[in-house]
Symmetry: C3
């Protein structure tokens, strides 16, 4: 299978556009850091920011060494993973493509997947276990998925459709997150019926700041996928419009639904609704009309709201709500695209073939991701390094391991020497 | 009247440039959220972020359904509002323009107006009233103004000049804000001579973070207006230089003036001065020399400083200072451009014709905005949903309605079970 | 000496690319504000944000009036400084260059240098002294360096190599910072053996948010240097890849080294490591292979870690760690490039000529910067306006001069009038 980016004339590829998108995806990590620091308890907000940044850095490094080659290298007709272009070797920039530009965009995309996953590790996983999981996930598990789909591999050739990664980026990260949070077990006393602990999030406004930032970043991320020069200016605009409408719809309706569920006006629901809808719409952003993006946003809000209520009921402790937002809505997006795709969907008279392919794709992603994440975690557990100890958990990772609190208000007025008495 | 964007050759329009500008305008909403969360009392900082995001989302949705068509649709020679291109119908991307790209940029611009307005609703308006006002303002009131001016409508044809919206975006939002804050009445005890309440802002550094972010965003916003290809590279650069110089001048002198007013070095004055000058210079950023931008910035700082002192004296309670920054400096910018415009201004020997047109424009904006905002608010008041109840106001909207505080420092150390005694 | 940007055909210069880079550099100031507010004690976090913004604004204004002309104006064969293009006079936009675009990018770059310097002024310098130092540094000291190097002046002509300013921007600002922090003397009781004061930083997560933002901004900053049209798409991509890899490597290894130094997982080390590596790699980002960027990042982490331990031991009080990050790694980057430069380096068989030139360049920068900063500070000290008074230092600049704290959590519940008893 061909495992390279498509090869238009050099002059018609907007390399600047792709680079700018890649750079802004790095900026988007500020958004993820805000979201996750706001979603955990204050005593662990510093540690989760460390996890976000470690995940970003290890992804960049492992993608340079292996991930980019595994994804976008030549696979010698094995259809499994690429084997060239490892460690920056033989990267090219000519009329057939630009590996440097492509690396910046794709490694940044991989970092999004890892940032999602870091939410599932919140408040419980050790830094060592997290670092190893990041490397395995970005460098092998995700790189494989990317080879089969984003790099025009066998799954895409078969007919599976996924515009910017609702399946391979977000659903996959959600599956990994589910395995992680289940294996880690809930935070201490989280579902203890006798506890008085409230597990309050550090800051809803941090979650909101981060979510708007991620919204803006997503416009670049989705935009960066479409880069074929002047001919595709229609598609670039359409993708942006659909991203805007879906995000706005998802946020608004998640807010409204939460109000009817709990009679509260929740900034957290508003924020999660945005990201949920962005995940769902990423399945087919270039191939839908704006009113379809509205429907995606609306259904994403419903799906998020239901899952966010169900997940804690089944005693899955998911502090950053990775499962409802990413697993749930990654599934939803890929599923819906089987119906709404204007060139192959059920609603446009093309029958159920795409539906079958989309479900097959989701199944393959689920099995591949769950299997390897599970093995990785079991090994880490076997070595006793998976979860922080109880004392650290009680005190908080920040105080126990990171030299203190995330925000310090001590004023340390040193008046005495000024006023000799 | 023609109600479409101008129609150069497709190849000379920088669609990427416009899209990037539009995307960054969404990012700028993080800035507005920071500014407004920092400007209100802590107990309402979560609720104002909700208002900013609700305003953004409702603007995107109503602009898709109506606003874009009202502004940039064909008005059948009525000169009132457009009636085509509603709900994404018949949007085109060809050599005459690109509705998708234009929507992203223009809807994001409309969202700025609504964000400004949300400041006037701070700490007092219900979410329901705010949502309805956002929809009416973005979808009808602002869309009308945009049709008459930005879409090359009758007011622009007449000769009224407004580069990126000092009048129709910022002065108009300021007028709406004045009506809103007067109708809402001041916060409880705000002007009570016996109160010991201090009405302290939540965070000056949040205001500063947000204002620098808005400064950067404004460079994109003003830049996005100029998009006619290689021929206009001079203008794009000039606009950026003028925006930089005006913002820096405004911030610096507002800081200096505040020092002489109150002998304090105020980060809030520094931050407000930036935005004040950006508002003023938006009247004619493409048609002035850098030293004119300096004068705009200086006068904006003076105007802001005077108004910020006067407004509370006349018992108008304006927590986010919408009236001095936007109404005041929107007026100033349009007024000054009648003198400084290099192609039609008094100082360049073109007489007072532009002055008359600019004042006429401001008058029309004032009447149109004030009238419809007033009616909307009176209806909301009639239904008893305009203002939050006294108990909510006393406790704070965050605790009363939004599940608690904006930032939670509870550490919840659960030591007991660890150390059985 | 020619003192203008090179003159390719207008159509091959990516003016949009340069403008976007410049705009994002302004956004990067939000990152510096976060980093510095998080690095100082809470009681001075508002005042340091004021310094960052004042520095940005005064740089823009002085660069418009003098700095741009001094740097990029014609120097009448004196090789000292330019003397044309002052105050925006005779700026051009034609096939030989675009002064407007160039100003936006270069003034933003100058602002980075001043932001670095503001860290050295933290918690001790008066606003007046800081303002004067900013003006002198940006408008004269830095402008001179920029003329000799970035504007293709005599030092560059001689053979000194510095891609985006590891020497003239970062090493120079670090030297200035060292002089500033030594002349200011440490914070009260900082090295008092009897003190119980802990000098805790306000917020590690602020430092992290800011550092990721600066990382993203640096991709634009380095990218903006390469703007010669389609032919340089390879270089633009390479620069981005090297910037990504260096930053990630530096952050990761600084984190690891800190762990082995102190058995703590430090978010501050992680954040400082990023910026240290970005500084170092800026010496030659366009002229190295990715594995060289990795080595730069690794050595930057080592160098930072050693210096961060040594500096306090010799009783230099450097709250924002300007000396290890900028002076240290600016030196490292320029030094390493003498070995790793693919076109003139020792390791590529070109002998030690470049090494001599690089060391000469660093020496000239050191002497030039240290001399003029010293004189400026001594004059300010002579007038008694250099350092804040002891009372202000004890109480904190924020409370003493800036109307109060940076973040206020007062809830001010006004229950009484609601419940008449």
């Amino acid at each position: 299978a061909l495992a390279n980016i498509p090869a238009p004339q050099a002059s018609t590829i907007d390399y600047d556009w792709i680079l700018i998108s890649g750079f802004i995806i790095v900026l988007t990590q500020v958004g993820f850091a805000f979201i996750e620091a706001g979603s955990v308890r204050y005593k662990n907000s510093q540690s989760i920011v460390i996890k976000v940044i470690l995940g970003l850095f290890l992804t960049i490094l492992i993608w340079w060494l292996f991930g980019y080659g595994f994804s976008f290298g030549y696979d010698f007709q094995t259809n499994f993973m690429g084997g060239t272009k490892l460690g920056g070797a033989n990267w090219e920039a000519n009329q057939f493509g630009n590996d440097y530009t492509n690396f910046v965009f794709r490694a940044s995309g991989a970092a999004i997947a890892v940032s999602v996953l870091s939410g599932a590790a919140a408040e419980r996983m050790t830094f060592l276990a997290w670092s190893i999981l990041s490397i395995v996930y970005a460098g092998f598990i995700y790189a494989g998925l990317a080879h089969w789909t984003l790099a025009k591999g066998w799954l895409t050739t078969l007919g599976y459709k996924d515009f910017s990664g609702a399946g391979v980026v977000f659903f996959a990260a959600g599956v990994a997150g589910l395995v992680v949070t289940v294996l880690l077990k809930p935070r201490r006393f989280r579902f203890d019926p006798n506890t008085t602990l409230q597990f309050q999030r550090h800051s809803p406004i941090y979650i909101a700041f981060g979510s708007i930032l991620v919204f803006a970043g997503w416009l670049f991320y989705n935009g960066g996928i479409v880069a074929q020069g002047a001919n595709s200016k229609y598609t670039q605009g359409l993708v942006a419009v659909n991203t805007l409408i879906a995000g706005a719809t998802g946020g608004f309706f998640a807010f409204i639904i939460r109000y009817f569920q709990y009679e509260t006006t929740s900034l957290v629901a508003l924020s999660r609704g945005i990201v949920s809808a962005l995940v769902a719409v990423s399945a087919a952003t270039d191939d839908m009309k704006p009113w379809t993006a509205f429907i995606y946003g609306l259904l994403a809000a419903v799906f998020y709201s239901v899952l966010a209520k169900v997940i804690p009921k089944v005693h899955i402790d998911d502090p950053v709500e990775v499962v409802p937002v990413f697993l749930g809505n990654g599934f939803l997006g890929i599923f819906l695209s089987a119906f709404f795709d204007t060139k192959a969907g059920v609603f446009y008279g093309f029958g159920a073939k795409l539906l079958g392919l989309q479900l097959l794709g989701l199944l393959i992603i689920f099995v591949w991701v769950a299997f390897f994440v599970l093995i990785t975690l079991l090994i880490l557990k076997g070595f006793g390094v998976l979860r922080i100890d109880s004392e650290t958990e009680s005190v908080g990772i920040d105080k126990a391991q990171c030299l203190g609190e995330a925000i310090v208000f001590a004023n340390q007025i040193d008046e005495a020497p000024l006023v000799p008495k």
